[in-house]
Assembly symmetry: none
Homo-oligomer: 465 residues x 2
């Protein structure tokens, strides 16, 4: 349904007038302790799913909390409409709250506070990640329904409860309900940040991931380094040589063929990123660093969004406790991951890595590999109509051109939408880097919540055409 | 006191008759969890020292567990005698027991088992290193005392509790008690192996040790490898590069000046070692290996006894638990030791190492060093009278000429005996290379224990002249 300007204004006015009620509903959801990783909170996860299904039913959706081998997935469908059919994704589960002693208030008793900068913030576990973000969309639907009796496009929702605990059950759920879910034209995910407090953004590039664990075995038992040192091969030494071989002095990854399928970003995108005014010194400085570690010929934004990396996420071998132990261990191991960019094939990278490592293992030693999953990078075509419409909606709300950004991280559900349902994903979120997600005193700016709702009102109108 | 053959035979018979009681006493000591490196076991170390002091007092020694800033040192003096005055050294502390899941029985509940070759073995942490070896000497004294009412020479003992944890407090203790301890003529240390199961040996060359712990810090907190991978320096990578740089492809250690003070062994010694019939394929094969890891131009015996080494005894950084965590850690650390040969100066090697590492640390990262002790290599003159007497005593027990060997290990106390007390040291032990010291399922052959006691009975008689 095409919407008029006066309709849109009325819906936005309804958002403003109903903000206190929207907040009350968010608080109700935040009070539910839906910590997915801890089995003790399974009933709370169930309660959160039921709460959401009830709310959506009240808004005219055909909604239900559907069982999985883990926590339920809420699926809801709005009435048919002309125009595109959107499938909205968010997650209702939250991270654990420890260390609880660092919270200034009860993580499950939301409070509206004022921060040091005078900003109103909603403080609670899940305020930002992801209950607050989820409700920006649902409250936008509510405002449309209140004012016009319906929604400007057909809306489905799929809201999961295991994002913070591995999310193993969602892909099989999507496979099992492929026909129903693939009826949508585009997926919308609300689980990301704005570019800055003034600038909305849509993330269109996400890096993929190949994760490997390797264990190098030399002797058949731990040896005394006095009795065997020099004679016996030390797996710590072999592992270090393997790891050291993965990066060249110029910061590039050395695996043969690693960059073969990596495309350069377009001059347009490069120019747009340059225009973002990203302060790489400030970005690194926040982490206590000053020298970018990747390919020295690239900007930090390129390194993060457009270039693959190899990171040693963990390594261990021998005695690592207090004091000293003069041991030559039998084994040493490492957890190594590769972040991939568009075009790179996870299987090919994994094979190149394994071949490279195997070639470095002495003949009387051995290496074993354990795969910890892999997913390709995701790129949303930057010339799509839905992307253009969504950008316009966001720009209208914030009075500033919305930007297209990348992300160095991986959001597996975006890959699943493409792989299982054939859907592109628009990642639109209103969180900020200082939201303390996964940490004590998580918060969501009241402004993120209020203007996030208003943003979705406009994006839905834009998508209706 | 000169001893007669019939006295000697009676004492040896007493050893045989009392073996079960000797074993019971060993078991009592093995049940005490005297892990010196872990502060949680400090009371157990104290208990082990008290147990030994009580035993020695019962044998007529003036014995006490004397305090140090760390674990106690047991010092005991027997009655005055004509002839040489020996100072016996061993250590009552033991290595940690991890990985505990690889033990087939409780490491602190000693058991007499039969190995695959039908040999009786005593299985427990410390059975060989060094409680079993310590008790060979004490039980030999007991047999002398039981049969003759005294000892053939004046015997003092100094038994420490920090050999496995750096031994920082022993040198100051020896300095503080120099006059009392330097009254001895020769030091005896029981912490080494026999050449093989038929051939007793006295070790006259010991490698020294420089132990260092390094911690490399990059970011000021753990980072997400998606959000920061490529941009932020990964300390695991830096540490791996440091470690990899320490060995050249030909197996040599790369530190500048590392081999400057290393002398070639004499042609005579080289010839004697060649005559030992050392089977390097069997030696490596026992550990499941076949390719020597050190300087490719050297024999394995040279690598172990006459060439310095660098070993990575432990390394850790990032997430090392089950599963996978996409973290770039703030820190990574390693425990690294150098074994030194005669002529090398520990301080010089430590300084060269630190300089080498510092030069490899990126400007926005840092490294800290923690010294875990250092000691020079030791060489005992091969023409001394005590050495000759002790060789004769050993040869008498085993019916085969005792040999003079080197050792790849470091026994810092031998250096301290020379430096602080002016004493040469005879290193006489009955352990075997398959004793699994520092590893799960440590054992001591019952034969090592029994004939070790008998050997000391004879060595004490030989030294009496």
């Amino acid at each position: 349904m095409t919407t008029t300007t006066s309709q849109l204004d009325a819906v936005l006015a309804s958002v403003d007038a109903g903000l206190d009620q929207s907040l009350e509903r968010l608080y109700e959801l935040l009070r539910i302790k839906s910590i997915s990783t801890d089995p003790a909170y399974a009933a709370e996860c169930r309660r959160a799913a039921d709460w959401i299904a009830t709310e959506l039913t009240g808004l005219g959706f055909d909604a239900a909390a559907r069982p999985t081998p883990g926590h339920p997935v809420v699926v809801a469908h709005g009435p048919d409409q002309a125009g595109p059919h959107v499938l909205f994704y968010a997650h209702y589960d939250v991270q654990p709250v420890d260390p609880i002693e660092l919270w200034h208030s009860d993580p499950f008793e939301p409070e509206l506070k004022t921060d040091a900068n005078g900003r109103k913030i909603i403080v609670a576990r899940g305020a930002s990640d992801d209950k607050g973000q989820m409700l920006t969309f649902i409250e936008a639907c509510r405002a449309w329904k209140t004012v016009t009796g319906g929604l400007p496009v057909k809306v489905s929702l799929m809201l999961e409860g295991e994002e913070e605990s591995g999310g193993k059950n969602l892909p099989p759920f999507m496979e099992a309900n492929r026909e129903e879910l693939a009826a949508a034209d585009i997926a919308l995910v609300c689980d990301t940040d704005m570019w800055d407090r003034q600038t909305p953004s849509i993330t269109t590039m996400l890096r993929g991931l190949v994760a490997e664990e390797i264990t190098i075995t030399c002797a058949n038992k731990d040896l005394h380094s006095g009795m065997f040192g020099n004679a016996a091969r030390n797996p710590n030494q072999v592992l270090a040589e393997v790891i050291a071989s993965l990066r060249a002095p110029d910061g590039s990854v050395t695996l043969p063929g690693f960059y073969d399928d990596v495309a350069e970003i377009s001059p347009e995108l490069k120019a747009q990123w340059a225009g973002l005014g990203f302060d790489q010194a400030a970005f690194l400085g926040e982490a206590g660093l000053s020298i970018p570690a990747g390919e020295q010929s690239r900007s930090v934004l390129e390194m993060l969004w457009a270039r693959p990396t190899c990171e040693i996420n963990g390594m261990t071998g021998g005695y690592t406790g207090d004091g000293f132990k003069t041991v030559i261990p039998a084994k040493a191991s490492a957890k190594i991951s590769f972040r991939l960019v568009s075009g790179m094939q996870p299987d090919k990278i994994r094979a190149a890595f394994r071949q490279h490592v195997e070639a470095m293992i002495p003949a009387d030693c051995s290496v074993s590999f354990h795969a910890h999953g892999g997913s390709p990078a995701i790129t949303v075509p930057s010339d799509g109509v839905h992307l253009r419409q969504a950008l316009a909606g966001l720009s209208g709300e914030w009075g500033k051109q919305a930007v297209i950004t990348g992300s160095g991280g991986s959001i597996p559900v975006a890959g699943d939408f493409k792989r299982i349902l054939g859907l592109d994903t628009l990642l639109i979120g209103f969180a900020h880097v200082d939201d303390q997600i996964h940490s004590p005193n998580e918060k969501y700016d009241l402004d993120s919540f209020h203007r996030g709702i208003r943003s979705w009102v406009r994006v839905l109108a834009s998508l209706a055409g």
